[in-house]
Amino acid sequence: AQSVTQLDSQVPVFEEAPVELRCNYSSSVSVYLFWYVQYPNQGLQLLLKYLSGSTLVKGINGFEAEFNKSQTSFHLRKPSVHISDTAEYFCAVSDAGYSTLTFGKGTMLLVSP
C-alpha cells in the first residue's frame, strides 16, 4: 500500500526567505508524484507533478520539486516566498497509470512580513 509522509505540519517563514516542504512516500511500484496547494476557502490546485524523466520539476508560482528515488522523497522548494504563498500544501502519489491519489497530511506554510 502507498503512503505519503509530510513531516512538518506547519512551516513558518519570513517573506523573501527560501523554503523547503518535505515529502516522503512509500510504494512498491512506479509512481507519479504531485504537489497540490489549497489557498483559504478554495479547492486544491495542482502546483506541479513528476511523471518520469528529469528529476527536477518546475511548477507554477516559482515552485519546484526534486524527485529522489533512492530516498523516496519529493521535496518542494521555493527560493523566495511571498505573503501570498501562505496556504496548505499537499504531497500526493499515485501508481503510474492508475487513478487514485494518496495524500499526505498537508503542511501549512505561514509567510510573515
Partner: protein, 116 residues
C-alpha cells in the same frame, strides 16, 4: 470554463440526521471522485465514478454513505444517519480521463460538514 462546484459549502447537522452533498463536475469530464479530509488527517479517497458507474468504491467508510451519479453528470453523496466522526471536508474532483499522468484532477472548494 466553469470549474467543479460543490453544494453546500457548509452544513451543520445533528447526529442521526441525513445530509446530501452535491458535486457538479466540469462539463465533459467522465471521471468524478469523492475525497474526504477529517480534521488533522490526510485527504482520503472515497470513490470514483466513470460516467454513471462506480469504478472504485473501496474508500467508502460504511453503508451509511451512498453515492450516486445518475445520468453521468452531477453526483450526490448522502450520509444517513450522520455520526460525529463523519465531520470533515468533503472534496469532489473530476478529470477527463482516469490516467493521472495525462489528465489532471480538478477539485471543487469542498463541503465542510459538521455533525453535532
Amino acid at each position: 470554463e466553469a470549474g467543479v462546484t460543490q453544494f453546500p459549502s457548509h452544513s451543520v447537522i445533528e447526529k442521526g440526521q441525513t445530509v446530501t452533498l452535491r458535486c457538479d463536475p466540469i462539463s465533459g469530464h467522465d471521471n468524478l471522485y469523492w475525497y474526504r479530509r477529517v480534521m488533522g488527517k490526510e485527504i482520503k479517497f472515497l470513490l470514483h465514478f466513470v460516467k454513471e458507474s462506480k469504478q472504485d468504491e473501496s474508500g467508502m467508510p460504511n453503508n451509511r454513505f451512498l453515492a450516486e451519479r445518475t445520468g453521468g453528470t452531477y453526483s450526490t453523496l448522502k450520509v444517513q444517519p450522520a455520526e460525529l466522526e463523519d465531520s470533515g471536508v468533503y472534496f469532489c474532483a473530476s478529470s477527463f480521463t482516469w490516467d493521472r499522468g495525462n489528465s489532471p484532477l480538478h477539485f471543487g472548494n469542498g463541503t465542510r460538514l459538521t455533525v453535532t
